[in-house]
Each structure stands twice: as structure tokens, then as C-alpha cells.
Symmetry: C2
Amino acid sequence: MDLKSYLKDMQELVDKYLDKYLPDTSELPRSIHESMRYSVFAGGKRVRPILLLAACEAVGGEIRTAMPAACAMEMIHTYSLIHDDLPAMDNDDFRRGKPTNHKVFGEACAILAGDALLTEAFILLSNPDLSKGIPPATLLEVIHEIGVCAGSRGMIGGQVVDMESEGRKEIDLATVQYIHTHKTGALIKAALKCGALIGGGDAGMVNAVTRYGEAVGLAFQIADDILDIEGTTEQIGKDAGSDQARGKATYPAVMGLAESKRRASELVDVAIEALAGFGEKADPLREIAYYIVKRKS
Amino acid sequence: MDLKSYLKDMQELVDKYLDKYLPDTSELPRSIHESMRYSVFAGGKRVRPILLLAACEAVGGEIRTAMPAACAMEMIHTYSLIHDDLPAMDNDDFRRGKPTNHKVFGEACAILAGDALLTEAFILLSNPDLSKGIPPATLLEVIHEIGVCAGSRGMIGGQVVDMESEGRKEIDLATVQYIHTHKTGALIKAALKCGALIGGGDAGMVNAVTRYGEAVGLAFQIADDILDIEGTTEQIGKDAGSDQARGKATYPAVMGLAESKRRASELVDVAIEALAGFGEKADPLREIAYYIVKRKS
């Protein structure tokens, strides 16, 4: 299969639905809806939605059914970026080469736009008009899984520990692992599991896809850490080497670059292995796993 | 009935369940869970949870079934207060006589604690172990209603317009009404409607209780505006007259004190009228409506 055109098609599809699902800028209050849309359409790769849709496909489901959940994942991811960029947090002026939300709309509006995107994700997930093909009990399981993975025991917990660790001299592997599996890994795992649930996979399939998600989520973050060192500023859309400059807890900082690369490729093997029982419908998931460690941006 | 002891009993019950449902401070990362609990247990009156439970009772439901939704409402209310108090927003150092969350835990932690409480509300609402008595489709309707009322077209929208109006010389009644029906009214309406849904009320009952909620929600906010002028600093736990000093959009500012009082008491009549078809199980809702315009704190 041609992964590049698969990713492009999926990204365009997700963008189309995000545009459809997000409140229009003509709706009052306009400022908040402009601010929400600004960050959602600031050039994301749609990794989480695409993984969710690919997981749905892998278990034999119809991707249209999973579109609200896929877009909800991207809304949660975007809210987390808006809040992470705030002056009180990472204080970033640029993200993907564009001014961050608070630089354009002000801090107060950025805080509220993040809050609103998080809320909108749950509005979308529970929208009765968009979830006709999904049994209500399954949809509740999806909402619960996404909540847990986004909350204080998941993504937010990872961000807390990341902040608390910043600039510390000695950071151990356990801490880096906690940060990665929570801050990025949890939401990616949720994307995979929820795609499989919505696609109607049986318990064995859902477990296999979830294992894939855990491995790929961690590999993705290690690859990100490596890119921060090896990529150019142009490729990664932010200052290269910025993690190091900030004393961020990263894999290369703890175990070196070579060992980090070995670990990332080992995790890709684990992910592929988890899909052993799946046919060619899981090919997109397989290709994405290989791509994650090879990407340049 | 003795409203005072009813409110006290309900408040204690809600506090007990909030304590049970919130992540323990022994759970990692500890700082975020301490911060979440700090604000939840900073002395709220539990108005929204009590209204939700009373609505559930009014339609013949069992209040224990509605406990997760009641506590979820309080988590959402608390998150909104934490974020409203931030330096970039209202910049308040005290709330209910205690230092605000960011004064104790720092701004970054306060932003994340708010995010985590909002997320926790949806985790709680979709928890399969706590919702056995509620049909999944009803629970999805509850989640959707709470999301819509808390989001950019509800509570957050009200906060946006409130901020944008602050300090403006001429604020019209339509703007004040928009702010009040959205910023406070939406969540109160949601509490009533969701209590009735969880309690198993039929469509007519749910509509009647929702109409009560709309009237009481607005009356509650007008009463709050009046209290800000007539109450002492000790009674209301913040500086008396602070709305006026900030040029906040309030009812008394637009239509005067006497007319605001008349309007609040008219809304209480509308609320009582909406419950005309209900028996004595709706007495707590009736008593609460009368109490709202008479309260001193």
C-alpha cells in the first residue's frame, strides 16, 4: 500500500469533518470559536484521529462511524497544546511555525478555547445524531476510556510530572517513561482502543490493537525526542535542540541516542507482533508503525 | 419541610461522595490531586448537585442513582471557578475567604487542576460501575446535555461575553441576560434536566423541571448580583460591591435594584408554576426556589 497517499487522504477527511463538527465562527461568541478553530487548523498531522480510524478499519469496522471519536481525539490533543503553550506552562510563542493561540487571542481566550475544545470533544462523542451505528454501552465505554486517558491519571498526569521534572539535574528512566506513557502514550493508546471498540472488534481484537497502541505511543514519543536532536528547525517546526536547552526529560538524555533508537525500533517490532492475527485490513496500522521511526517531521 | 436541615443533609451527602469519587491524594501525581481536592473542598454550597438530586427525587427517582452526575456538576463548577480566578482572567486572590487555587499551587498547576476536574466529570459520568441503574441511552443524553451547557455555547460562552463586557460603559439588558443565562444559568438548567432524566421522568416531567431550572438559574444569578450590593463582605466571602467596582455586567447596573428584586421574585413564581403538576416530592425544589431570593450568603 502507498502510505503517503493513505495518510494524505485520511488527513483531508479528518480536516473536513473537524470543520463540520466544530462550532462555526458565525456562532456567538465569535471570538472563542475563532480561537478554537485557529489552533485546530494550525497544521496538525492528525496522528491520533488517523490511528483511531485505522484501528476501526483493522477490526472490520466502517471508518465513517468512527469520525466523531476521531475528531474528538484531535480536539483533546489541540486543547492540551494550547494550554501547554501558555506563559504559565511552557511559554511558547510558536507552534508548527505559527504564533501560539495566546499570542493571537490573548491568555484568557486561550485558556477558555482549550476548555471549550476539551468540552466539545465530549459533546461530539455523545451526540445522538452522529452515533447511530454504535451501541450506547460501547459509546459509554469509549467516552470513559478517552476521559481516563486524558485525565489526571493519564495525559494531564504526564504533563504535571514533565513540568515538575524540568531543569532537574538527575532524571531517571522511570520518570521519563512515566512522562512519555502518560503525556503522549495514553491518548494514542485510547485512540487505538476506541477505534477497535467502535469498529465492533471482539475482546481479543481490542486487546491486540490496544497493545499495538501502547507500543506505538511510546515509540512515537521516543522518535520525537530523537527528532528534536537530529532534525532541523525547519523540519520540526520549532527550535531544534529545544528539549535539551530546557533540560527536558527525554529518552536520549537518559539512555543516549543510539540506545534510544534501538528501543524505538524494538517497540515497532512489538507493535507489529501484536497485529499477527490480523489480515490486510491492518496494513495501514503496520505501515504507520514503521513510518513512525523513519519520519523526518 | 425543614429546608435548612434538608440542605445540610444533602450537602454532607454530596461532600461524602465527592470525597469517594475524586482521585486520592496518594495517587500519582500527588500535586494535581491535592490541588483538585483543595478547590472542591473549599466550602461550596453544592447548589448544582443539590438541585440535580432534588430534580431526580421530584420525578420519583432514587437520589443515589444520581450521585455521580451530581458530583460531576460540582467538579465542572469548581473547574470554572479555578480558571475564572486565574491572573489572566479575573485575577482573584481569594474565593470564599480562602486563597484561590493558583495562589496556593501556582498558575500552571491551577490550569491543569481545572482541566483535570472537567475531564474527571466526564470520567465519572461514564463510569460503568456507578451507573448500573441508568439506561445507557439516557446516560448519553445526560452527558450530551452537560457538555452542551458547559461548553462554548453555554457556560464558557457566558464567561467570554462577561470578560469582553467588563469595564464597558454601556451594557444593555440583552448582554446581561446572555451572560447570566449562559455563565450560571446553563449549568443550573442542566442540573435540573439531568436530575429529571436520571430519575426516569417522562418527557412532560423533564420539560417542566427544565423550565423550573431556567427560571431558577436566572433568579439565582440576579439574587447574587443583589447580594453583591446589599450583603456584607463577611456574608458573601468576597469584597462587597466588587462587581460594581469592576464595572461588571449585572442586573442592578442595568435596571436598578428595585426592578431587579421584582424580576427575581417574578422568576421564582415562574419556577413554582412549572411544578404545578408535581406532588410533595417536588417540595424541596419549591422551597429552594423561595430560598434563593431570600438567602443572605
